[in-house]
């Protein structure tokens, strides 16, 4: 060898590459789909939550999850399984006790954090694509430090899932007290099962169930539960989107029945 290798000179400069990203694939597609999907869902949900009608099918006892539990004084008496004690106002959703916690559960969810940090906050929009911000402190400061309280939103979501399950059970009894089962019940049950799957696949749930342990061998039952939750957890993203879809479909179906756009397909009664 006749030339000397370049030695590190102590200057700490990165490679000078003018292009912000050299990615040639469609990296912008995934954040775009996420942004459109989330925006559309939030717009629909907001519209429905403040609509304050077509949420209850009295004939089959169907209650949409967006109004469960219905606790406003404006609720129809038959739909209010747990009493009516919140003042009736066009600005207060009928399910004002559950919706804020559900929103928090999804806002602090480890999957949705990835989704909206990428799609809305551009931090970063995609891997190896520059962050849209000059400074970055992550989740170390107010308000994002509160993302650490995801587990409390999870506890609330478990309680609300119990209410949803109760609604699904109640919906199998018709207005005259007889047992009934129709397409609406199938949709309600699919929604409830998916909500449970999404809630159980939560990363905080995985931690609480067994992830926090150091010795699985000393806690065989918790280890088995952790293994089960871990399997669900790998599908957390999928379940997050599936539940958005089932919630919107359930709500739309019940709205359509309540508004009389079409009638329920009945299997029994």
């Amino acid at each position: 060898m006749t030339t000397l290798a370049t030695r590190p000179t102590g200057a700490k400069a990165r490679a000078e590459i003018s292009a912000k990203t050299l990615r040639t694939d469609r990296w912008w597609l995934a954040p775009l789909i996420t942004a459109v999907g989330l925006f559309a869902w939030v717009a629909y949900a907001t519209f429905r939550v403040f609509m304050q009608k077509w949420y209850w099918v009295d004939e089959y006892h169907y209650l949409t999850p967006f109004y469960s539990p219905c606790v406003s004084e404006g609720c129809e008496p038959a739909a209010a399984h747990f009493g009516r004690f919140i003042p009736d106002s066009p600005w207060i959703p009928y399910a004002a006790l559950s919706l804020p916690f559900l929103l928090l559960f999804r806002l602090t969810c480890y999957y949705y954090r990835k989704a909206y940090y990428r799609a809305f906050w551009m931090s970063p929009p995609a891997c190896a694509v520059p962050d849209g911000h000059k400074n970055y402190s992550g989740e170390t400061r107010f308000p994002l430090i509160f993302q650490n309280l995801h587990r409390y939103a999870f506890y609330a979501a478990v309680i609300i899932s119990i209410f949803n399950t109760y609604d699904a059970i109640m919906a199998m009894q018709k207005a005259n007290g007889d047992f009934g089962f129709g397409l609406g019940n199938v949709i309600l049950w699919v929604n409830v099962i998916m909500l449970w799957a999404y809630t159980a696949s939560c990363h905080s749930c995985r931690h609480i169930i067994g992830g926090r342990l150091k010795h699985f061998s000393k806690h065989p039952v918790r280890y088995r539960a952790w293994t089960f939750v871990s399997k669900l957890n790998t599908r957390h993203m999928g379940l997050a989107w599936i539940t958005l879809a089932t919630l919107a479909i359930t709500d739309f179906y019940i709205m359509a029945l309540a508004a009389g756009w079409f009638s329920d397909l009945r299997f029994v009664g």
């Binding site: 370049t6 700490k12 400069a13 954090r113 970055y136 650490n148």
Partner: protein, 332 residues
């Protein structure tokens, strides 16, 4: 065989540019093969770090069409025939030359992380663990230290000042591995991850998991569990209260009193000299040049019979422990 178009970044810390090349590509080849052909046929002094060509040594990390990848594991068949393939060095680390970067940031962060602490009262050789207890940690042992995750993480990639505070995904899996280790005796690792490694900077956008060539689930299995463990220790009022009432796993609140490791020399043990984890090791002196400005390659002219020391001729062993930038438990 076909001739394909390439753009390869050439330069050093003073600057550089993307050069265009046309290189022959054969069936079954990977990007590293093309880099080697480029060296053999057109650019004999193109610098590139590589070793095993089997995706196990983690040396040939570079950015191919803007994505951090191992060049030995990126098949040419994944690109279109007429596509120009752009190859650049890792962006997050200082460049040394061409495709070779200075990854010492990662080694500094590795030194800062306390090693496995042996359990008291158990002699080495008597360690016994159940398979299910070590399984979780074993996933993280697959790491080949290619530093693609460190390179792609926007916390340091796009924000150079965060390098001081932030250890990066590779060291979060190390922290998780040790915190989940059934026999590790150190019980302030959660505190350490929060206050010294900057775990809170991570916003779980999962790019580390996306680029990992070993398919380690870095975010789901290490960072998020570590974040949840930190919540147990620092943020969850009920768990903190429960621990106080039940007097469970009482630990001294070390982290707030501890100096930040990045600040300067840290006293690791009472009877030891402070260690400066961030100290820049003195670079070895360049070889002496002769009157013509070249190295004396002729053995007759050299002042010793063997090859020059790879550590530099000015370094004698053993090194003074006070000058080390790591913690050597046996050398005081």
């Amino acid at each position: 065989m076909s001739v394909r178009k390439f753009k390869v970044w050439r330069g050093d810390s003073g600057g550089g540019q993307l050069n265009d090349y046309q290189v022959e590509v054969n069936e079954g080849e990977v990007v590293l093969d093309v880099i080697h052909r480029l060296q053999a046929t057109q650019e004999p002094d193109l610098a590139c770090r590589w070793n095993c060509k089997a995706g196990k040594c983690g040396s040939c990390s570079m950015e191919i069409n803007g994505m951090p990848r191992l060049s030995c594991m990126t098949r040419m068949s994944t690109f279109e025939e007429n596509e120009t393939v752009t190859v650049t060095p890792l962006r997050t680390f200082p460049v040394i030359r061409d495709l070779v970067t200075d990854v010492s940031y990662n080694y500094t962060k590795a030194r800062e992380l306390p090693a496995f602490a042996p359990p008291p009262g158990v002699a080495p050789g008597d360690y016994r663990m159940q398979q299910i207890d070590v399984e979780r940690s074993q996933e993280f042992r697959k790491c080949i230290e290619c530093f693609l995750c460190q390179n792609t993480c926007h916390v340091v990639r796009d924000h150079e000042p965060n390098k001081e505070e932030f250890a990066g995904p590779r060291y979060f899996i190390r922290a998780a591995e040790l915190d989940m280790h059934p026999l590790d005796a150190k019980n302030d690792r959660k505190e350490f991850a929060k206050s010294q490694q900057g775990l809170g900077y991570c916003n779980i956008t999962k790019c580390c998991t996306e680029v990992c060539p070993e398919h380690i689930k870095i975010t789901d299995n290490a960072i998020i569990p570590m974040k949840e463990r930190v919540v147990d220790r620092r943020y969850d009022p009920l768990v903190v209260l429960g621990r106080k009432i039940l007097r469970r796993d009482q630990i001294a609140p070390t982290a707030s009193a501890e100096p930040t490791v990045h600040a300067g020399p840290v006293k690791v043990a009472d009877d030891m000299a402070p260690v400066d984890f961030g100290r820049e090791p003195t670079p070895p002196l360049p070889p002496e040049l002769n009157a013509k400005g070249h190295v004396n390659l002729n053995e007759m002219l050299s002042d010793r019979s063997a090859a020059a020391s790879p550590f530099g001729d000015d370094l004698s062993f053993p090194v003074d422990p006070k000058g080390l930038n790591y913690y050597h438990p046996d050398k005081h």
